[in-house]
Amino acid sequence: MDRREFLKKAIISCSALCIAALGAIAAFLYPAKTGERKQQFVYLMEEDDLPRRGVRMVTFSVRSEEQDVMTVNRVFVVGGEKGITAFSPVCTHLGCFVNWDANKKTFICPCHGGKFSMSGEVIGGPPPAPLKKLPLHIENDKVYIGVKA
């Protein structure tokens, strides 16, 4: 092997190493998966306070044990013909919180004008999917809501 050929091979190997290192760097920068968040039921409200007909926004706090922080969340509790449903306020478009417009009987997202009906279905705007339903659990006259934390 002459010098020219040696240098050529050396440069190719070094380049290959650099590309391999890029993969390692990407893997380093990708955040470590924290354990799957478990669903837990937290106290939401008294059963007597559930809306028979209509929409009520309820706030509740969740304690995330892993990160040891309290977060305050909100949920829309909707009473209708099919009983009680709890909707996540997170718009399925890009994640803003929707508001309930009582006059128009519509959930409206302030960010890009997504509209959802009282049953969570998309009735206008860009959202690709209906509002997410959250599980409710009633025990001893108290209502609990299932959230991931």
């Binding site: 955040p31 968040r37 994640g95």
Partner: protein, 215 residues
């Protein structure tokens, strides 16, 4: 002043190797629209200097970030001014880059042999936009939070890799302290480094190729 500079230059030798850059011929008929690129550079320098100053007081943590911004505004001497300069220079930086791009487009200065410089310029613009986006979160208030929520949620709509990409950008499933420190690092280290490299390429090519003749 001239004597002082000559004394300095007799030892540092900055004039001669840059003579071609400092004393070059420029085509006839140039006008002030040819200044937008230089203006953008000026705003970048303002951003770099004020950014360095802000980084001394800013604390990129979930609990301290917003408070440290209040402190910069209210307690640090001229802190409000430095922060305002950084904010306004950022806006004008983007605006002057766009104006510069329009000028290059209108005068068709992107044509051979300057295609690569157009591409490098576009990369500079993308890095500037990324800097603006990551810098926006650092104030850590409601507006910053929701802007980043929406901006990063858009990444999720990319087919196949969207979920992973959003997770990588946020550093966690939701926007959290991990996102803040990630954005801070990108904003003050990664992107300025890219920007420095791209700007060096841009100016190197301007120097070598000269300014395009006016149409």
């Amino acid at each position: 002043m001239g004597k002082l500079f000559d004394w300095f230059d007799a030892r540092f030798h900055v004039k001669r190797p840059h003579k071609r850059f400092l004393q070059r011929r420029i085509p006839e008929g140039l006008n002030y629209t040819y200044c937008f690129g230089g203006l953008a550079l000026t705003f970048f320098i303002v951003l770099a200097v004020t950014g360095l100053m802000l980084s001394v007081y800013y604390i990129p943590s979930e609990k301290e970030a917003y408070r440290s911004i209040l402190m910069i505004n209210d307690e640090v001497f001229l802190g409000w001014l430095v922060r305002s300069l950084h904010k306004w220079a950022a806006s004008f930086f983007i605006v002057t880059i766009i104006l510069h791009t329009i000028r290059v487009f209108v005068t068709r200065s992107y044509r051979p042999p300057r295609e690569l410089n157009w591409i490098v310029g576009c990369c500079t613009f993308l890095v500037a936009m990324a800097s603006a986006f990551t810098g926006y979160l650092l104030t850590w208030d409601q507006r910053a939070y929701w802007a980043t929520e929406v901006g990063t949620a858009m990444i999720q709509t990319i087919p196949f890799i969207g979920d992973h990409l959003m997770y990588a950008v946020r550093g966690s499933a939701e926007i959290s302290g991990a996102t803040l420190i990630r954005f801070y690092s990108i904003h003050v280290l990664f992107l300025p480094l890219c920007m420095g490299l791209l700007m060096w390429m841009h100016f190197h090519m301007v120097k070598r190729q000269g300014i395009a003749r006016r149409l």
